[in-house]
Symmetry: C2
Subunit: 337 residues, 2 copies
DNA sequence: TGACTAACTGTGAGCGTTAACATTTCAGCC
DNA sequence: GGCTGAAATGTTAACGCTCACAGTTAGTCA
């Protein structure tokens, strides 16, 4: 049912050459568009290629050229909106340039897991590696990464030895906080993300320093872990605060949980409290109420990441660290009271 | 700064052999644990491997064995919760078995895009392909897929010529609908997903046939496109219906939009209307109100998909089509009124 | 017409690995 | 002490492709 007749080895260059009555080299030139070939010869070759359903053997090619055309991505084993979006951004840019992507996921981004993932990718002879590593431990792991492999990090610290592409978290947090202050709030509370995530650190710093610049006193910090549940717990704590009027939440998922806790406690948003999130997930516009949040262009991050990696692979010096600007999207959660 | 000294070619088997004073074949045997080697010889070889930082050349190995150890995944270019989760499920199972994953994303899953993606993966000499193809056109494309490549589909029709792994959408919809009927509703409205998605079709069929079995009349069907926005639009239509008491929405994102529209219209859930979703995204428990929904075990789907594909690669006959059961998660949106 | 050049085509080697087989080593035994 | 056979190691030949170079043909100009 599956196979009829003999196993039918894949046709090789030589097979095509035989059928077309030329040398294997001519076939190679036709297939790869390298070197001149007479139109009628090309036609004969193409016919033979078609007839035998010839497909170049990528292993043989990689063996002789030393290039596999494969890029590795170390991805976080998560369905968070950001990482998933960036993965597709990278994939699209890479595919357009003729590269393909192989991914290795990492459960917890600790040092050894990242190192293992990189080693796994090396074994596959990838030409370069993108590490989606928005995590302190991951950034550390990258520092000791082998220097002979083009490597670009997404969402690391600027002081990392590898090139970093990231959304400007600090500035996004600044915009969110200033937006709230501009609405007349004396200060702004912050529900931060996990302490070992760089993005959480940057957003927190952006919030804190913006308050300082405006001579507003920073309330005590509350911390979640990106999940809606943790946002809910933070919300439950916040409802007990008497002078609560504005909250900047480190991501939209947590903001959702927080809104839920507020709703249960009878706190009305935006009437009693203003809330701003971060990420602009597709759902954010349909929260109750629709959420003011900071938009990140993940696709653009993916594109720039690939561009940077391509430069490294070509042996050119690294481009400067690259920050993609964040944008504030104002919705009802900071609307008129 | 980047390179010191000569380019430093990667060490080969022969290099290691020279240093260890044995033949390249002995090194191969040590590295691959194939064939017997005296402990002291093995030690010498291992030392040389270490010293030269030897790493097998995957291209050379693939060339001679004909096996690349790579699996291809045709993924939808979307950050929908389901596809993203399944991707990681497959990746994890594959990695455990020593395979790696390369992904090719598809913007719109039409026939030619799928065919292109499969061709792209073939060129990379993948050993098998997983098509995440919950789409009518995609399923069609799979029918005409080349028969010499192990291929498994996720979320296709049972009558597809390729093996299919899927969550039991029909039964999930049945559970959702029966849950609502059991709560005493005379009938249940349905906000369906896009007509060309198989999952949307199956959920709709499950809803409709369940109503029939209970002699309930099916209200007119409303349709969205999975996005929260489309759910919102459907919600706006529904609020005009006078005998509306229960809605089964095709996915959680749409349910979110619908809840939003209801909230704006002053319709209280669950007091006035009961709502059930589908997917059990992590956010669902924190919607307003928390959403009763149908849970899908995507990780399990990924695992089974890999298992099925491994069988095909090993040349064994396809396992029967495999349906992963869905589970109803009851929350407040169908709670006491 | 012939020499020179450009366009085209062919030859042979080698990339690093594994498979198949050949050879050496060495312990156990009569 | 030589014989036997298993264990350990080595030799050689592919795998399918590209690179470097060597041919061959055709076109041009004096």
């Amino acid at each position: 049912m599956t196979s009829t007749g003999p196993p039918e080895r894949q046709a090789s260059l030589t097979d095509v050459a035989g059928l077309a009555g030329v040398s294997h080299m001519t076939v190679s030139r036709v297939v790869n568009r390298t070197g001149p070939v007479r139109p009628e010869t090309r036609a004969k070759v193409l016919a033979a290629v078609e007839k035998l359903n010839y497909r170049p053997n990528s292993a043989a090619r990689a063996l002789v050229t030393g290039k596999t055309g494969i890029l590795g991505v170390v991805a976080l084993d998560s369905t968070l909106y950001g990482p998933a979006s960036m993965l597709y951004g990278i994939e699209n840019a890479a595919r357009e340039a003729g590269y393909s992507i192989t991914i290795t996921s990492v459960g917890t981004p600790n040092r050894s897991a990242i190192a293992d993932a990189i080693e796994t990718l090396r074994r596959q002879a990838v030409e370069g590696i993108v590490a989606i590593a928005p995590h302190a431990a991951a950034a550390k792991a990258l520092e000791s990464a082998p220097g002979d492999m083009p490597l670009v990090a997404i969402g690391g610290r600027p002081d990392t030895p590898v090139p970093v592409i990231a959304v400007d978290q600090y500035d996004g947090a600044r915009r969110a906080t200033e937006h709230l202050l501009a609405l007349g709030h004396r200060t702004v509370w912050h529900a931060a993300g996990p302490i070992d995530w760089l993005e959480a650190q940057d957003r927190e710093r952006g919030w804190r320093e913006t308050l300082e610049r405006h001579n507003a006193e920073a309330p005590r910090l509350l911390r979640g872990d990106w999940t809606p549940h943790s946002g809910y717990l933070v919300g439950r704590e916040l409802v007990r605060e008497r002078d609560l009027t504005a909250v900047f939440v480190a991501n939209d998922q947590m903001a959702l949980g927080l809104l839920r806790a507020f709703a249960e406690a009878g706190i009305r948003v935006p009437k009693d409290v203003h809330v701003v999130g971060f990420d602009d997930v597709p759902e954010a516009a349909y929260f109750s109420p629709p959420l003011t949040t900071v938009h990140q262009d993940f696709i653009e991050v993916g594109r720039r990441t690939f561009r940077q990696l391509a430069e490294r692979i070509a042996g050119r010096p690294p481009l400067p660290h690259d920050l993609v600007p964040a944008e504030l999207i104002v919705r009802e959660s900071t609307g008129p009271r």
